[in-house]
Every structure is written in structure tokens, then in C-alpha cells.
Amino acid sequence: MKMKYDVVVLGGGAAGMGAAYGAKENGASVLLIERESSTGGVLNQCIHTGFGLQVFKMELSGPEYHEMYSDKMGKVDALYETMVLYIDFKMNKMKAMSTTGMHEIEYGALILATGARERPFEALRIQGTRPAGIFTAGLAQKFVNLENHLPGHKAVIVGSGDIGMIMARRLTLEGVTVEGVYEIMPYPGGLTRNIAQCLIDFNIPLHLSTSVIKVHGKSRLEGVTVTQFENGIPLREKERFIECDTLVASVGLIPENDLVKGKIEMGSDEGIIVDDLMRTNYENVFACGNNVCIHDLVDFATVEGEKAGKNAAIVSKGKELPERAGMITVKEGIRVVSAKYMTATEPFKLYIRVDKPMEIATININGKAIKAVVNARPSEMIEINMDPNKYDLKGKIELSAKGVKR
């Protein structure tokens, strides 16, 4: 089948739905392509609350957020259970496959909203056996929340990412004994609110500078060895065996850009590099959400999507967008920035992550402090208002974070 749309959106999660809405609101014909049989992405399995505070000014569960945003988005042409196999960025065309065959889809502008994948436990290169009973937090969440099955009866959580902490609470509520959450870094990997609401409220211990160093069990997991780490080195004398039948790994998310690898400018973290219009290195290709960088909140991904959608609609009508005028260079103290290039035409909310915890962090543009953040942590994004009226955002923009003691 051959199709042609002003704007094609790849991915129907929080960012993709935002992008479809943004494009539609700005008068473009929109096609949404989704691999699963419905929109919503990971929202569908996130039955906990905490979504929507920015977009809807109320606290919603994942499915509620999905439903409310679906209503807001309204009807959009969509191809479900459809996988894009190849994109020709020169001809503005792509090939996709579904149960009805092959589809050739031409676009005026394209929005990549393909989300992220979980880093699997197996990627950590931890010694031992390879039994059943090892899950990523997202997979365990899918089993419990969507399929009504428990992964096991006694669980250890490795990594203190948000989904790991949320699953620690979820499993506890379902009667699974959660022995503890083990984090190799000296600071937690997830949001402070999740430490309070998911761990402290349920008496689940969080062990910092401690991690799993060995897996035991032939058929099904029988236990893990954990130990403390000092300067990244495991301490033999602190080794401890924990009997458990379930290991849930929450050890990071990776932007999922397999489809465009080598064709779109990407950073070393595999995220797509964009400017403040959410535009990639192609004039008419945009990206938003977790395939740009891993966000703390779903709401941020949606807001980015709406922006990408609006700009994609403009380009698809043959209008020109402003050119890139400035480039951010990341200096000391910063690990992630959500955009690299600035057109410096209007204020832009840039998200950054510091590279280590700082009691007080000053955020600096070209050496000049513009913001102070109390208790800055890599796990909590910092929002910076990149306002071209306040700062010079043309040419080279050096961004740094410096820790100051109280």
C-alpha cells in the first residue's frame, strides 16, 4: 500500500501521542505508526500514579493519563502492529511491514518518538549461572500488571532506577517478599519521591554502594551474592548470600534508535541530538521523548512531542524554520543535556543531569552562574530556561555545573 501524509510519527507512546496532537493542531495530516496494537506504550502497564502533574495539573495513573491524552489527541490515522523497516531520508519515504503486507509511506516531515529500552541484567557481565527468574523491572511489571502473574515469591531488586523502586512496592503489595534494593553507586538512581513512597513507606531497605556480584541456581534462580563496593571495587569480606527466586533489574534505560543508527546524529548515550525546535540534523526530521534522552516524567516527553509536532507541521507545509545559531558544549559536572543546538529565537526549557550528587550546584552558561540547585543529583533532571533575551545563546555555549559546599 502507498500512503502520503504531511507528518508521520513513529511511536505511539507519551511522546508520539504528543507529537501527533501537536502536528494535528497545526493543520497537518498525521499518520501514527505503532508496533503494538494500541497507543500508550509503557503507560499501559504503569498502574501507579504520578503522571499528569504538568500536562493535566492532576495526579493520574498511567492508563488514566493515556486515556485523557487520547481524548485530547482525538482521532488520528494510525497503523498498529506495524514495524518500520527502513527510512530513506533523501526521498522522504519509508517502508513498513504489518499483517496486511508492505507499506510505502511518504512524509512531509517525520517525527521519531521510539522511546527507550531497558538495559538487561545480562549486560552487566555478572558472574555465575543463567537461570530463569531474572527480569528487567519493565518485564516484571508487565507480568504482574497486565498478565496477573507473579515473577516469584522472594525478590531482590538490583539497581535503584524508578521502575525498580516502583516494582519493589508493587511486588510487596502482591505478597512477594522484597529483600532489598541494591545500588552499586553511592547515591540512588531514581527520584527522591519514589524512595519515600516506594521504599521507606514499605520498609524496603535500600543498600547503596552495594550490588549483586554472583548469580546462583541452575534451572530457576536460587540466590545471589551481594557485596559492598568501595571506589568501585567489590569488598570480599562484605560478601553475603541472599536466598531468592527472583531478581529484578532496574539498571538503566537506553534510547531506542536502532532504526536510524548511523543516519541521524546521535550522542554517545545513543540519544538523538536535537535543537530547541526538536529538529535533528535533517530539516524535516524531528525527535522527542526518551529516544532523545531519558526523562524523569512522562509529561516532559509529551510536551516535547507537542513541540516537535508543531514544528513538523510547519515544515511539512513548506515553510522554513529558523536556523541553528548556537551549540552547547558540555563541560564539567554535566552528564546529559536534552538538546545540543539553539536557534535562540524563543525561550526553551532545557533539561540537564549533573554527573554526581552536589549539595548545592551552580549551573553556568559560558562560566556565568545562572541558577543554583540545592541537593542536585544525577537522578533528578534540572530544568534551565534557555531564554535568548537573557543569555547569549548564539555561537559557542559552554554549560557546566559546579558543586559548592553549604
Partner: protein
């Protein structure tokens, strides 16, 4: 004549297939694991060696070069992937250069074709990510790669199609001989006229239970790291060999990932199931692989694993033939490469000994599971039109469709690993975190099993346990 084969690895299944070429031969394969190719077969580098490093007079030299040649037609007949990517043995020290010369010399004696010593410049032209410290290398264009378990799957499917019977999860406990041979298994006793022992790590124990004396085996553990860093090398890259064997390699797999390993650690004979990885082993792989190819990026690791290969003191295959039994012992490296040649040789010996006649109805062909991702648009369109499930992608990392998963189940996959090793679903960078549930749904529907009954691989390897309240 009733022939029993113990072990459904590459050697056992290829022998089974060879035997089904003959009239009046009933072939029964006994495998103690729940699937084919899960023992020694699953646990090696997947390299079809060229055959330059086996001592010219050894048994393995004879089989390796011939086995390598056979893989071209075998892969076409049996429909498994095989790529002659070639191999490089890389020398970094002045004193390694004479090793290359002696490998070249034994390669020529063994009849290996196309061997060539390459200069530093040519080595780097061929493999630009090699360490710049390379001085010279030995190029062997006939070396190749396969998914070893796929060879066993293909051979067993073809053998079964030609009349063989496959008994999975059936462990042979002992062999008794009187007028016939009695195989005592945990699923009952089987009476046979001839037995072939292709039981890998257990071949010494099986031989002894039948009263045949062989050099005892011990497991040699090889640990590996799998990387999602396609194309960092395009050929099989070896260091110069040492006493420990061929060394730690960097190579592409047939599924476009990169494999680093193996280590080579001799374990006591009682450790025949100790496939755990070790910190020391994994560190050694990293140190050695980085020396060969500094560009490897360990943040792209997707899995580590270890396999055990059978080793004996004489470091050579031992094949003992008698009137009622053939024992194939110590199928160490290059066992995978040699397997087709061993099968051909053993079966031609049996056929002349027992005056067997070739059967006209033997069908040497087995069709692979259709793989839409590898097809062109017209082929995909036609396949999806005939069966829409081939248009629904289940595993996004490796683009495996529902149709492929269904076909894998119909061809005998009963576990998640059975599906994984037939389709590559759950084999990619997310290691199944996205697709496991959807694959279990297909298994539930197709096999009539509940989620709580589905296993990862071995008995008692349940995935989920209990119901949410």
C-alpha cells in the same frame, strides 16, 4: 537394522541424517536434554575452522579440512545460515612471525586452500579495527561461521522427515549387551542392533558402561561475552595460538552480534555441568580481546555465557568402531567443523560393514523457517499474503515475526530457549524484556500451556510462579 544414537548434538544429528539415507535402517535418537543441540554444540564459538592449526598427522586434521568443505553444500541442503567470512591469525611480536609460518606450513600439508600471509597494511585493510600493533597475519579465506545449534536443529528435522525418531528428555542410564543391545533409559528400555555414542561430555562414561575402554574426558570451560556492536570485525580474528588452544577470539556471529572468547579452563571430570561464568574468566576475555581489537565497546555487552567442551589428555578425537557400536569421544575443537566429515565417515563404514543399500526416497532438503526481515519486498509481500502472521513483528530487536515463532513451535520448540535458538527472538540487545510476554502468549495458545507451565529451558526453569491477587 535398528540403530540408536546417544546425543542430539551436531555429531549425533548429522549421523542420524546420514543413516536415514539407507534402506531398512531404523534410527532412534536419544537426548537427555529437552531440545537438540543444547550440550557441547551450543557452547562454542560457531567457527567453521579452516584447518591450518591441527597437527598434520592428527585425526582432527583429517576431518577438519574435509568437514569445512562439506559445509557449503550441507548449509544449502539443510537451509541453515553459513558464511565464509574468513579468519585472521594476528601476530604482534617478532617471535610470533615464525608461528604464522609454521601454521601456513601445516595448513598447506592439511590441504587448506587460499592461505596467505598478509602484511601489516593488508591486515589493516581487511580488518581496519585491528590493533595498529599488528605486524602480520595469516589469512584463511575458507573459515566461516554458523549458529551451531541451528546445524543440529536442521539435521534432526531432516533426519526425522526421513524416518528417524527423536526421543528428547530421555537419558540413557546404561547399555547392556546380549543377542541385542539394550539401552536402559529413564523412559524405558530400547532394544537395538547398533549403537552410536555421540554423547559429547559424557561419551567416556557411556563407552565405559558398554565395556569400551577410552581415555577419560574432562570438561574445558570456555566463557564468552556477546556484544551488540555489529561490524566491529568482519572476519574471525585469532591471536597466535598457545598451549591453551586457539586463544581468545573476536568474531562476528551469524546473527550480527560480536562474540569475544572463549577462555580455556580445564575442570575436574565431575564438573560436566558447571557452565557458570567467573569474574576472572570475563576479565581475561576483556584484556585479551582488547589487545586484538581495541575498538570493542564493552558498554555494548548484552550477555555472558560459558560452555564446556570435552577434552582428553591426547587432545585428539577418538573414534572406536566395533561390530555393534561406534564411540565418538573427545569431540573437542574443531568438533563442529569436523562433524559432517565424522558423520560421513562413520556411516559409510557402517554401510559397508552391514552392506546397506541407499534409499531412493531419501530427501536431503530441509527448508529454513521463513525470515521476512531478510527478504526483499516482493517476497515479504507474497509471504504475508499467504500467512499474515509473518507481518506481525514480535521481537523488535531482531525483527522476528509471529509467523516465525509459530513455525519454531511447530518444529519442536517447547521452551523459551527453544524459540530463541530457532528464531533469534529474545537474542538481541533487550534480551527479551519487550517480547517475552508476547512469545509466552503465542506458546500458551499453540501448546495449550498456562504461563505457569512454560519453562525457560531445563525442567523446573519456570518463568512465572503464582498469580497476582
Amino acid at each position: 537394522m535398528k540403530v540408536g544414537i546417544i546425543g542430539a548434538g551436531v555429531v549425533g544429528t548429522l549421523i542420524a541424517r546420514e543413516l536415514t539415507r539407507y534402506e531398512d535402517v531404523e534410527v532412534e535418537i536419544f537426548e537427555k536434554l529437552p531440545d537438540v543441540g543444547w550440550g557441547v554444540t551450543k557452547a562454542n564459538s560457531g567457527v567453521i575452522h579452516a584447518g591450518y592449526d591441527d597437527e598434520p598427522e592428527s585425526v582432527r586434521a583429517r576431518y577438519c579440512v574435509h568437514g569445512n568443505e562439506m559445509y557449503t553444500s550441507l548449509s544449502q541442503e539443510l537451509g541453515f545460515q553459513f558464511k565464509r567470512v574468513g579468519s585472521l591469525v594476528v601476530a604482534f611480536q617478532q617471535e610470533d612471525l615464525h608461528v604464522l609460518e609454521s601454521l601456513l606450513e601445516s595448513g598447506i600439508k592439511n590441504g587448506v586452500k587460499g592461505l596467505k600471509i598478509l602484511s601489516k597494511y593488508d591486515s589493516l585493510q581487511l580488518e581496519p579495527n585491528l590493533s595498529k600493533e599488528v605486524l602480520s597475519s595469516l589469512w584463511a579465506p575458507t573459515a566461516g561461521i554458523v549458529g551451531p545449534w541451528e546445524v543440529a536443529q536442521a539435521a534432526s528435522e531432516n533426519a526425522v522427515k526421513n524416518g528417524a525418531k527423536l526421543h528428547l528428555s530421555t537419558k540413557v542410564n546404561s547399555i547392556k549387551k546380549d543377542s541385542t543391545i539394550k539401552l536402559e533409559t529413564d523412559k524405558g528400555t530400547f532394544e537395538l542392533d547398533f549403537v552410536i555414542n555421540a554423547s559429547g561430555l559424557w561419551a567416556d562414561e557411556i563407552a565405559q558402561s558398554a565395556g569400551v575402554k577410552v581415555t577419560p574426558l574432562h570438561p574445558r570451560r570456555g566463557e564468552y561475552i556477546l556484544l551488540d556492536q555489529p561490524n566491529v570485525v568482519k572476519t574471525v580474528v585469532f591471536p597466535v595460538p598457545s598451549k591453551g588452544g586457539k586463544g581468545i577470539l573476536v568474531l562476528p556471529t551469524i546473527h550480527d552480534t560480536i562474540l569475544l572468547g572463549p577462555t580455556s579452563e580445564d575442570l575436574p571430570p565431575s564438573y560436566k555441568e558447571r557452565t557458570e561464568t567467573t569474574q576472572e574468566g570475563l576479565s581475561r576475555i576483556i584484556d585479551n580481546a582488547k589487545k586484538l581489537v581495541p575498538a570493542i565497546n564493552l558498554s555494548k555487552s548484552i550477555r555472558t555465557f560459558a560452555g564446556l567442551r570435552p577434552e582428553n589428555e591426547i587432545k585428539d578425537f577418538v573414534i572406536i568402531k566395533s561390530d555393534e557400536m561406534v564411540n565418538i569421544v573427545a569431540t573437542r575443537s574443531p568438533g563442529l567443523t569436523s562433524a559432517p566429515a565424522i558423520a560421513e565417515d562413520v556411516v559409510s563404514w557402517i554401510s559397508s560393514k552391514k552392506s546397506l543399500k541407499q534409499r531412493k526416497t531419501f530427501d536431503p532438503h530441509r527448508k529454513p523457517i521463513p525470515r521476512p526481515y531478510e527478504m526483499n519486498d516482493d517476497e515479504r509481500e507474497a509471504l504475508i499474503r499467504s500467512n499474515p502472521s509473518f507481518g506481525r513483528v514480535i521481537c523488535r530487536c531482531n525483527k522476528v515475526t509471529e509467523g516465525e515463532v509459530l513455525e519454531a513451535i511447530r518444529r519442536g520448540a517447547k521452551t523459551l530457549d527453544g524459540v530463541k535458538l530457532r528464531t533469534t527472538a529474545m537474542f538481541g540487545r533487550c534480551q527479551g524484556s519487550f517480547c517475552t510476554v508476547n512469545i509466552m502468549k503465542i506458546m500458551k495458545k499453540e501448546l495449550g500451556e498456562e504461563f505457569s507451565e512454560i519453562e525457560k529451558n531445563l525442567p523446573a526453569s519456570k518463568i512465572v510462579d503464582g498469580v497476582a491477587r
